[in-house]
Amino acid sequence: MNKNIDILENPALKLENLYIAYGKTDKYAVRDVSATIKKNAITAIMGPSGCGKSTLLRAINRMHQLYPDVKTQGNIYLNEKDITKMSAIHLRRKIGMVFQRPNPFPTMSIYDNVVAGYKLNGIRMKKNERDAIVEQSLISVGLWNEVKDSLRKKGTFLSGGQQQRLCIARAIAFKPDVILLDEPTSALDPIATSKVEDLLVQLKKDYTIVLVTHNMSQAARISDYSMFMYLGDLVEYGKTKMMFTNPRDKKTEEYLTGKFG
């Protein structure tokens, strides 16, 4: 069964026979996933909780490497380069990540949060360069007008939605190629959610975006491609419009029609 689409020309990411397991168990959280992800598009990964979608996402920037009991097999290529052959530092500079709950650094100001990537990586810059990056990043996430007078305040004073946009600014300030988002709106109210969604649609012209979501209407609204995962398997992958109107797999259809999940 051909459940995957092939984006042959110049993919941003290519996953090859990916298996991921926690601890010593033989049960895989992600089992034999292969897929290519298109540049400058939003790819959504959806599925019921526990299906392995976050586990898959966190393999892409090698987050699992922080936890010795997570075992990853298979290959991932970023711009056709094997990510295990790069240093994790370099890889994560190319792949930004936004988390489920907004997590600006509470000890840093809004300004310092935006340039945190540079500070953490020991990159020195002139003040005007830094100012430019902060302004540009905050403009990109539509936060500049809201916070430009309080850049020295702690990021934790912002509302949840603003905090999450600050975290996106923090990721893009570092000019990555890919942005991974792990259910970025699950802690936000509907208005803040729609702001973040609009922002992602804008950002895709500069970045490749991979979005994990448990909210299928969100995937339908903003993604170009969708993956449906179930119990660790990649069940179906295709153009979002196609998948929502004409799912090929019965499980996908059941999920999309709300039979489970």
């Binding site: 370099h90 500079r93 990586n121 990159i123 990109s140 000019k175 500069d206």
Partner: protein
């Protein structure tokens, strides 16, 4: 699309400093491991030293006989023999002093802990909690002075086991108060409310519900506080003085294992008794420590 060009420039400009940073990271990790090993090495060296030097002196009479006189010890050392006698006066004295301190501190500590748990928000309870914190920080030698002023000078009119027990009881009290309050907080509120709703009198709720369900927490607190005071020397020097004989009179001077260690330390003839007594004391303290940790692990 200026942004796009900007992005390319930016990426080019970043120097690859990852090799330097990765090695810095590794050096720091190695440093942490080395310093951590140095930090815990004294415990290995101390236990090793006590066992190495002390185990030879531990025999049956060590636990059954009272301390030898300087002369007896000197003769034995001169003839290359094991020093006769034991430390039974110290062991029984420690049991008497610590037992008495527990009898004073445990009931009061549990009652105060219950009081604080019952009056979480009140300002008076906050005062008591702060005072209890302050008591916990008072150096043991100052508690020795206090027990001397109160008991030795004004109640018994002489050095006594009771005076030592008062000093140690004040040391135990804050630990028991704190552990009782913390334990009670962990018991589900519903359990207590269910009993109260049935019209059970409050003292019965304490005796039948709160204390049994918090038993392991209370026991841990008590054992830890006992292990904390077992090795105390300074306050006893000021209060119980010491006694070469076994003594059960709480108003008379009494010996204790740590006091004997201090005496042996000051008497060159008794050198080898220092190690066996310390080994015994450490063994006692650490066993209590481990038992109390086991109880915690079981909950």
């Amino acid at each position: 699309m200026g942004q796009k060009n900007n992005k390319k420039m930016e990426t080019l400009k970043l120097k690859d400093n990852s090799a330097y940073r990765t090695s810095k990271d590794k050096v720091f990790l190695v440093g942490v491991i080395i310093v951590s090993i140095i930090t815990i090495s004294p415990i290995v060296l101390i236990i090793g030293k006590l066992v190495w030097e002390g185990i030879g002196q531990i025999n049956f009479s060590f636990f059954t006989e009272t301390t030898p006189s300087t002369f007896e010890a000197m003769t034995a050392v001169a003839n290359n023999e094991v020093i006769p006698g034991g430390i039974v006066n110290g062991i029984l004295g420690t049991l008497l002093i610590v037992g008495l301190a527990s009898v004073i501190a445990i009931p009061i500590g549990i009652l105060v802990g219950l009081f604080l748990y019952e009056n979480q928000q009140s300002r008076y309870a906050g005062l008591i909690r702060s005072l209890s914190d302050i008591l916990q920080g008072v150096p043991s030698i100052v508690l020795g002075l206090i027990a001397y002023l109160w008991v030795v000078k004004n109640i018994v009119h002489g050095y006594s086991a009771l005076a030592g027990s008062v000093a140690l009881a004040i040391m135990m009290l804050p630990l028991i108060i704190r552990s009782t309050e913390e334990t009670m907080k962990m018991i589900p509120e519903t359990l207590k409310e269910a009993a109260l709703a049935l019209g059970v009198p409050y003292y019965k709720v304490i005796a039948r519900v709160l204390i049994p369900s918090g038993f392991s927490g209370l026991a841990t607190g008590i054992l830890l506080s006992v292990s904390r005071i077992l090795g105390e020397t300074a306050p006893l020097m000021l209060t119980t003085l010491g006694n070469p004989m076994v003594n059960w009179d709480i108003t008379a001077p009494t010996s204790a294992v740590p006091l004997l260690i201090w005496n042996f330390y000051n008497d060159p003839n008794m050198l080898s008794l220092i190690w066996s007594s310390s080994l015994f004391l450490m063994g006692f303290v650490l066993t209590l420590n481990i038992i109390s940790k086991r109880i915690v692990a079981k909950i």
